[in-house]
């Protein structure tokens, strides 16, 4: 008989209580897997989006709350020697139908970002006409194809093209002419950011150095604005920040509740087994071995609850990725690293929650524990 088997049998003694505890842990871990996994994949998709568009830097406001930039900044940006091109853009999250939310971009007609899109149907929009291009997933969710007309915030737009982009976010997005989105968003003369392409590096010049020098030049020329590389921008994107903080906040609350469940179960278990612990101590078990037994039980609760939680989180993401309201910005893939991390967190939560009951169990005097009724 292995030591582990004793721990396992103790857990199976109160099957209902163990099952309920596992459910508590599983909910916490499922929340972590689904929410934090979503926020991370959301960030990754933003990064892919920025990188695939060939944008080296994005020029945005320094302040967190005021996220718009005056459109007139464009001329000044283009006059900076390091800058090859600078395109204004707006990004917004909109209800396109009561069921479907999507990211909506506003680009000028000739934006270099158009070059990264592959048209599956129709054409690009022209000028500032009320025309819209739909990502392939969004088009499918809306049941629209090139040539159809759709309503966006009370205005009629003609669907002129369906495209495939470099990221899942683009697949679930709509692209409008910049002026049209400014009008819909009440952002006359303002944009969310300028996407900047830098001039090619001269021979031997490291990329990092070229980007750093350009950032310094832009920030010196345009006080109040900052130039951020794609990775930083993906990390600091307000939607990503919001998703991340919400995900972690919710997950931590759920994990805390799961930990309380384990702590309660282990405390009850130690209380009920006071006499048995006394017997184990009488038979020569060291305090450390008693503690190890209880901690293994707590860790097993964490691990099994964690496995259930990973499966639950994956299922939740699958469902979210299939729902029209969320399909545009949720991917169902969970990196293996994230699963391992979730299981690690589950075991650590189990160990932390089990520590105090284990310590108290180990401190029991054998004689007093044997007398306990």
């Amino acid at each position: 008989m292995s030591f582990f088997r004793i721990a396992l049998k103790n857990l199976l003694r109160r099957r209902l209580r163990t099952a309920l505890t596992l459910c508590g842990v599983a909910v916490g871990i499922a929340a972590f897997v689904a929410l934090v996994g979503f926020s991370r994949s959301f960030e990754q998709e933003w990064l892919k989006l920025y990188e695939s568009s060939g944008t080296d830097l994005a020029v945005v406001q320094r302040t967190f709350l005021n996220t718009t930039v005056d459109e007139g900044v464009g001329e000044k940006l283009r006059s900076i020697p390091a800058v090859a091109d600078a395109e204004p853009m707006i990004v917004n999250l909109m209800d396109l139908t009561p069921e479907v939310n999507a990211l909506v971009y506003g680009w000028p007609e000739g934006s270099f970002e158009m070059d990264t899109l592959t048209l599956l149907q129709g054409r690009r929009f022209r000028g500032d006409q009320p025309e819209v291009m739909l990502g392939e997933v969004l088009a499918e969710n809306l049941g629209k194809k090139a040539g159809d007309v759709m309503d966006i915030q009370g205005s009629a737009f003609q669907v002129v093209g369906v495209f495939r982009g470099g990221s899942a976010l683009e697949a679930g997005a709509a692209i409008l002419p910049l002026r049209q989105l400014q009008k819909l968003s009440d952002l006359g003369g303002k944009v969310t950011a300028f996407n900047v392409r830098l001039r090619k590096a001269s021979d031997g010049e490291p990329d990092e150095q070229r980007i750093q020098q350009a950032r310094t030049a832009i920030e010196a020329a345009l006080p109040g604005l900052k130039a951020v590389p794609a990775s930083v921008r993906a990390h600091n994107n307000q939607l990503v920040v919001l998703a991340r903080s919400t995900a972690w906040g919710t997950s931590l609350i759920a994990l805390f509740i799961g930990a309380l469940g384990i702590a309660n179960t282990m405390a009850m278990s130690v209380f009920e087994r006071t006499k048995e612990i006394g017997v184990l101590r009488a038979l020569g078990w060291k305090r450390s071995r008693v503690m190890k037994l209880i901690l293994i039980e707590a860790a097993v609760l964490g691990l099994v609850g964690g496995c259930l939680g990973v499966a639950g989180g994956w299922l939740a993401l699958r469902i979210l990725a299939a729902l029209p309201a969320t399909a545009s910005f949720v991917t169902s893939s969970i990196p293996g690293r994230h699963c391992v991390e979730a299981l690690g967190i589950a075991v650590v939560v189990g160990l932390l929650a089990g520590f105090l009951p284990a310590y108290r169990g180990a401190q029991l005097s054998p004689v007093e524990a044997l007398r306990y009724e």
């Binding site: 008989m1 049998k9 103790n10 048995e276 009488a282 020569g284 060291k286 071995r289």
Partner: protein, 222 residues
Amino acid sequence: MSDCLLEARNVTKHYEEGRIQALRGVDLVVSAGEFVAIRGPSGSGKSTLLHLLGGLDQPSSGEILFRGHSLANSFDLDAYRSRRVGFIFQAFHLLPTLRALENVQVPMFETKLSLRERGEKAAVLLREVGLEQRFHQYPNQLSAGERQRVAIARSLANDPEILLADEPTGNLDSENSTKIMAMLAGIQARRKMVLVVVTHEAAIAQLAQRTIQIRDGRICSH
């Protein structure tokens, strides 16, 4: 005394800041291979003395010596209980979630025996107490006599030199009591170990080589 294995020297034990005096200056010498019975009325301090001899508790004053060395100063009490002493309780105290074969292995976790060796040794011990057909039964599937035999096998798990039994027949009928005591006496004689039995019963005490009477925390006759 050259063959003295276990000794209580002027041992007192009190509880609740001295309001309860369980033992009052007990002196006792147990020689190697000796079978001693401790008799006395309820509350006389006989179980307390057994617990102190087994390192389950420490005296308030005085000392317990094993092979001439004080338990308090010279021994890790966990190791002493694990390797030198085997306990048998009135209420058997088997772990309800483990089968007979598994219960016997519990003390062996403090040794270096492998998984396989633990299983093999437990099987030998259960055969020794006549339970070769009951290896895989849980305690609630065993009779009271069988449970006590499993407990005896468990007490022998680490080949102790001392067997301490606290009312080992207290929960058994007279037929099983006789069998269990005969088994304990046989094991003590074969293994040449110390057996100290706390009991109310005169018939059991008669099996011992020596009986100690204890009353109000004092030994009143040897």
